[in-house]
């Protein structure tokens, strides 16, 4: 008992001082996003608006190099799929410190899909984003089916194949 008590107390101290584990979204989770549009902060956009479509939720920031690569590629993918009348949409969640930084980037490289701005980092925390960019592919019912971390040019083919599999 005398030996066990100090060990118990030390273990307790270690656990108390450890940072709390981050939440992380799991496959099958439904975590609706409602945020103001980056272009008009009075206009709210919700992921629920896109139910019935495969939704590609992309957490990005203009300072992140792989994110900058991914945006034009996602725009092209969206163009390809929507021109075929497929139920697909991209919802980009911008996480820049200031919305003006994202707007400056999008002025140079415009995209046709909705972009929302998360000023507080509520949604990346909820989804458990561990790196930039991280994307979540949601099925037509709004449930997470696939998580993609990082981005390189060759990834777009894999993403396209996954979206095709999930299309209604």
């Amino acid at each position: 008992m005398n030996n066990a008590f100090p060990i118990f107390v030390l273990t307790l101290i270690i656990f108390v001082t450890l940072p709390a584990p981050a939440n992380s979204a799991k496959i099958g989770d439904s975590l609706p996003i409602t945020l103001p549009s980056l272009f008009d902060n009075k206009k709210m956009i919700s992921s629920n608006q896109f139910k019935g479509k495969v939704l590609y939720v992309d957490f990005w920031a203009s300072w992140c190099l792989p994110c900058r690569k991914s945006l034009p590629q996602l725009n092209e993918l969206r163009k390809r799929l929507t021109s075929n009348g497929k139920g697909f949409e991209v919802l980009a969640v911008n996480l820049d410190g200031k919305p003006s930084e994202a707007l400056e980037f999008l002025n140079k490289y415009p995209v046709n899909y909705p972009v929302v701005y998360d000023a507080t980092g509520k949604y990346p925390k909820l989804y458990g984003v561990r790196g930039m960019p991280t994307s979540y592919i949601l099925d037509p019912q709004g449930r997470i089916q696939y998580v993609h971390s990082g981005f390189k040019n060759s990834d777009i083919k894999k993403i396209e194949a996954l979206v095709h599999e999930m299309l209604p």
């Binding site: 030390l10 101290i13 940072p19 957490f59 920031a61 410190g97 980092g121 925390k125 991280t134």
Partner: protein, 87 residues
């Protein structure tokens, strides 16, 4: 006499233990490590936060680094390689 000595030693070790406990608890309150979330690294990604402001020099440094170390990343110029120096 032996009994009294045993008791005072026991008391001393109890005092030491609680002293250590208080010290550890105090140190745990001094932790200054705040977690920087991935989306909060915008300032660190600014060019002026790099080791050098010259992009050519930065790319050269980066190339030398990944050729020698077989690893890359964490800097502005980026790049990748397996250590062969052929990229």
């Amino acid at each position: 006499m032996k009994c009294c000595l045993d008791m005072s030693l026991k008391r001393l070790s109890t005092i030491r233990f609680y002293g250590l406990l208080i010290a550890l608890l105090s140190f745990s309150g001094l932790t200054a490590c705040a977690t920087v979330e991935p989306w909060e690294k915008g300032i660190l990604a600014k060019p002026e936060m790099g080791w050098t402001l010259d992009p050519v020099e930065s790319a050269l440094e980066s190339h030398i680094f990944f050729s020698k170390e077989g690893s890359s990343g964490g800097n502005i110029s980026g790049g990748s390689g397996g250590g062969c120096g052929c990229n």
